[in-house]
């Protein structure tokens, strides 16, 4: 009426995230997440759609990628992914990095190895 354009979000973002408005700090757009196997019956429609993306893929997906595939706002997907990570349906392979030695140390080691060769 007031414009030819249709609102892309018939279902509003806050409904999709069931009221949650903050994503986990460690879930960023560039974060890659992988799916754990398990029942998805209890999940909401959007969470299930996210999980279905992993059904055929044999690897991780970036949050931004999920957002693009589902045509959802990135922040909404970050929250959806956060919830799925909280419930254990998704996990972050990058999380392991926290436990690993820092980059400088690795370079030191590399340099040491080279000097050995």
């Amino acid at each position: 009426m007031s414009g030819p354009r249709r609102d892309p979000d018939m279902v509003r973002p806050y409904v999709r995230t069931q009221g949650r408005i903050r994503a986990r700090e460690d879930v960023r757009l560039e974060s890659v997440v992988i799916a754990a196997t398990g029942p998805t019956d209890t999940l909401g429609p959007d969470a299930r759609r996210v999980m279905r993306l992993f059904a055929g893929a044999d690897g991780g997906l970036a949050v931004a990628d999920i957002a693009a595939a589902l045509e959802l706002p990135p922040s909404t997907v970050r929250i959806l992914v956060s919830s799925l990570m909280d419930s254990g349906h998704l996990s972050s392979p990058v999380a392991a990095i926290d436990d690993q030695p820092d980059f400088d140390l690795l370079q030191e080691v590399l340099r040491g190895l080279r000097s050995l060769v």
Partner: protein
């Protein structure tokens, strides 16, 4: 002889005496009779005089008195002093009856006159009343028209603006990725959606149609769209109802009616209780059921509600009262205009109230023509070709084509996306070049989003190619993941669960994944 003569003379004398006596008696008789006749004549004369006087009195005094007197005065006026001379005559009786007869006649005339006067008055009053009613009706019509126009203008304005606000928010949440911006936008959006619900309710009451149009939509999304327009939507529980798709033209109406029912259910149930939405598919209709565990609607209110639903209580906008209860009226109007039904019953299994939206089969379409939003990458493979082959779906497809165009539009103005080229190339690069997670978050993040969204999904959103992109996207992601890992060179991440996936994705490279999915 002489004796003879004497005897004859004696006989004659006797006869003469006898005759004389006879005649004397006869004369006496005649005199008495004449006396009687004179007396009678005298009496009659007296009576006549008396009658004259009496009639004169009657004419001059009694009748005017009777005529003048009220209906109750017949008694005293009716006593006519009849002269003693007339006592016992029929005339006296007749004369005595005259005042009564006159009084009765007068009374009769009076009653008739009164009736005629009353009839005339009633007629005049009737005319006046009719005129007044006509004028009142006209004034009322005018005032309803004015009120309607005012409400319609106001409501439409708010509807248009809040719909625009909603679209602005939809663009905003795609453009801004900061948590704060998102939280604020979402809060604004929730309020705007509630405004939209109220305003479009009033615009419907004022006689307008709903202005927003949607493509055919699954019941799941209809329920969730309705949830977005009310306070406390978190308490609404619903199952997946993707198998039922509602025809585009009825979608907004069903969403609105459902939002009203959900709002009612939430409002009348305890703050911690859930409201349950369920679906029952009948032969001729689908039943969307809203159950609350709140107070059971009392009989009076149920009756009122059913009157509203049947249209009997759905009076015009100027009769809403001091505390307008618009929701059910709007739902009822929408149901009538768009060909579905809304019913309320109580108690339900939770001792609360049950509301039902009955969607006849002609509002339900083939699930193949649902919204463009991809259900899933993997799942869209089998149904899609079939859906596209079907004829009715083609129609929807053209509509779909417009909808996604809208979705892409907001992204287009961003400066970064345009230069981005093939999907696979730029994706691994940023991560590969800076392996540490310490990439500059803001720029890289937005850069990444945009870059991934514009090249690869662009075809994905066209209804033509969902199959191609479906498998492609995870492959790209896998490639990215692999690239990230290769960039980190030789690191052996610990987690066992992720290991298998990771190695398969990393070494046999993205192509395998893509091939797998291609089948």
């Amino acid at each position: 002889m002489t004796e003879l003569i004497i005897a004859a003379a004696a006989v004659l004398a006797v006869a003469g005496v006898g005759a004389a006596g006879y005649f004397r008696r006869k004369g006496e008789q005649a005199r008495r009779r004449a006396e009687q006749l004179r007396e009678h004549a005298d009496r009659l004369t007296l009576q006549l005089v008396a009658a004259e006087q009496c009639v004169g009195h009657l004419a001059t005094a009694v009748i005017p008195a009777v005529a003048k007197g009220g209906p109750g005065d017949v008694g005293p006026a009716g006593v006519l002093p009849v002269p003693a001379q007339l006592d016992g005559t029929p005339l006296a009786e007749r004369l005595r009856a005259v005042p009564g007869a006159v009084a009765a006649a007068v009374e009769d005339v009076r009653t008739r006159e009164r009736a005629a006067a009353e009839r005339a008055t009633a007629h005049a009053a009737d005319q006046v009343r009719q005129d007044t009613e006509r004028q009142l009706a006209q004034v009322r019509r005018e005032s309803v028209g004015v009120a309607r126009a005012a409400v319609r203008g106001f409501a439409n304005n708010i509807v248009a603006r809040s719909a625009r606000l909603g679209r602005a928010v939809s663009q905003g949440v795609r453009r801004h990725i900061s948590d704060e911006a998102y939280a604020t936008l979402v809060e604004i959006d929730h309020l705007a959606q509630q405004m939209l619900l109220t305003a479009s309710g009033y615009s419907v009451l004022a006689g307008d149609k709903l202005s927003r149009r949607w493509p055919a939509t699954t019941l799941t999304d209809i329920v969730r769209a309705a949830m977005g327009r009310i306070e406390g939507y978190e308490r609404v529980k619903h199952p997946e109802m993707g198998s039922v798709v509602v025809e585009g033209r009825a979608v907004e109406a069903v969403v609105h009616a459902l939002a009203v029912l959900l709002d009612n259910a939430l409002r009348y149930s305890p703050p911690a209780a859930s409201v349950h939405v369920s679906l029952e598919q009948g032969h001729h209709a689908c039943f969307l059921i809203v159950d609350d565990a709140g107070l059971r609607m009392d009989d009076e209110r149920l009756l009122w509600a059913s009157d509203v639903m049947s249209g009997e209580q759905r009076d015009d906008i100027t009769r809403l009262g001091a505390h307008p209860q618009t929701g059910l009226r709007v739902a009822s109007l929408l149901a009538e205009n768009y060909g579905f039904r809304v019913e309320l019953t109580a108690p339900n299994i939770y001792q609360g109230t049950r509301a039902m939206v009955v969607l006849p089969k002609n509002l339900i379409v083939d699930p193949g023509s649902a919204q463009p939003v991809p259900q899933s990458v993997a799942r869209s493979l089998p149904p899609k070709p079939a859906a596209r082959a079907a004829d009715p779906a083609a129609e929807e497809a053209t509509e779909e084509a417009t909808a996604p165009a809208v979705t892409t539009a907001p992204a287009a103005p961003d400066p970064e996306p345009a230069p981005a080229t093939p999907a696979a190339v730029p994706v691994p690069e940023p991560v590969g070049s800076s392996p540490a997670p310490a990439t500059a978050p803001a720029t890289t993040a937005s850069g990444l989003t945009v870059r991934r969204r514009s090249p690869a999904p662009a075809p994905a959103r066209r209804p033509a190619a969902p199959e191609d992109t479906g498998p492609g996207r995870p492959a790209v992601a896998a490639a990215w993941a692999a690239g990230t890992r290769r960039g980190r060179e030789g690191e052996q991440p610990a987690p066992a669960s992720a290991d298998a996936i990771r190695t398969s994705a990393a070494h046999p490279a993205p192509h395998d994944a893509a091939d797998d999915e291609g089948h």
